[in-house]
Assembly symmetry: C2
Homo-oligomer: 203 residues x 2
DNA sequence: GTCTATACCAAGATAGAC
DNA sequence: GTCTATCTTGGTATAGAC
């Protein structure tokens, strides 16, 4: 009785790779490095588990690829927001760009996951390089002062935390959280309410 | 040829419990929830793996106990820093209290780990409650305005990240990092240089 | 380029002795 | 209160077919 499509639609490697990386980002973000299985990633991407391993070598290398992609996506988003009036306005644009990336499921969280793995002998150094790279971009390319860079970064880390915590779920029901959103984000709730992940979203 | 001490020194349950929780904090902090094994915790605490499970039920319950302890320790440290002149001075004292807790190995990181698990059906709600509890303490008990609370929290999240990333290792060799430390911490590097974890610290 | 089958190991949890 | 031994599951990675 032939249940259709055994070997999924064939696809050029590069394209499939990008597809898997996107899905892996969301899975790593939600489950952490240790909590993620290559099978979970495979399921999310609609391919077999051995294929994921085959394509990236090991789970660790897959994570590094995810991290690399995430930091490049972030850097691009920031760079795209730089042109135009500088100072407060530029910071505002960059903040909006950052919040806009919430739509890229798991991007902020996977970066945090990597940062938290600073003690790992192989992921740690990569994570530090990534963090420093963004720091330099913000300070040198966007021209923020050190104090401005610090505040910008700190705000970013807070946003990451709020997103990862799924605090958005409580928005509108919990006044505590409403006020937090009011101060934490560089724009009104409407802008990002439909991109925030929900508490019961699998990833 | 009797290699000594088979059943380790007996100890009242409450005391052993606290001891295990401390060590588990460091292990969870360094390896994440998924990356932590009950055996790793057992080794760190110098007891057998089944005993850890026996005492806490499951790995998940152990993590919840660690989270609960961490948030209580943090709340106490903040409360102890409230009495005295308010405004900037109080914020400064609270910031110092926060940095001082770096000596409690893994405390900040384990909180972050919990926050990143916001999507988890059982850990998520606990993590949100913990975050909100501290938010309320900072705003209501310490009397910070919403904007001040937000900045205080944001700075805290940045400190967590820097600590977890083991950026301290590069201090003194990398000028980028020196300037970051200069702006991110509420005190000079000397105050915390010997409590910051190193990149190769197992946990 | 993608799958199925499987070897192998690691980790959580239980049983039960001391 | 604490251990040793062990059962069981599930996850990484390999082999090899299509």
């Amino acid at each position: 009785m032939e249940i259709d499509e055994a070997p999924r639609t064939r696809m050029p490697a590069a394209e499939r790779r990008e597809l898997i990386l996107r899905d892996a980002t969301a899975v790593f973000a939600a489950n952490g490095y240790g909590g993620t299985t290559t099978d979970l990633v495979a399921k999310a991407a609609g391919v077999s588990q051995p294929y994921v391993v085959r394509m990236f070598g090991t789970k660790e290398k897959l994570f590094l690829a995810v991290l690399d992609r995430a930091s490049r996506v972030l850097a691009e988003a920031f760079r795209a927001a730089i042109p135009g009036p500088d100072g407060d306005e530029r910071r505002e644009r960059m903040g909006m760009a950052y919040v806009g990336l919430i739509a890229e499921r798991g991007l902020h969280q996977v970066l945090m996951q990597a940062f938290l793995l600073g003690g790992d002998p192989v992921i740690g150094p990569e994570a530090r390089a990534c963090f420093l790279g963004i720091w330099q971009l913000v300070r040198d390319e966007a021209g923020m002062s050190e104090q401005e860079s610090r505040d910008f970064f700190a705000g970013g880390m807070l946003i990451n935390t709020i997103v990862a915590l799924r605090l958005g779920d409580s928005h509108g029901v919990d006044p505590e959280i409403d006020t937090m959103f009011g101060v934490a984000f560089p724009c009104s709730f409407d802008v990002y309410k439909d991109v925030l992940p929900t508490a019961d979203e699998p990833y």
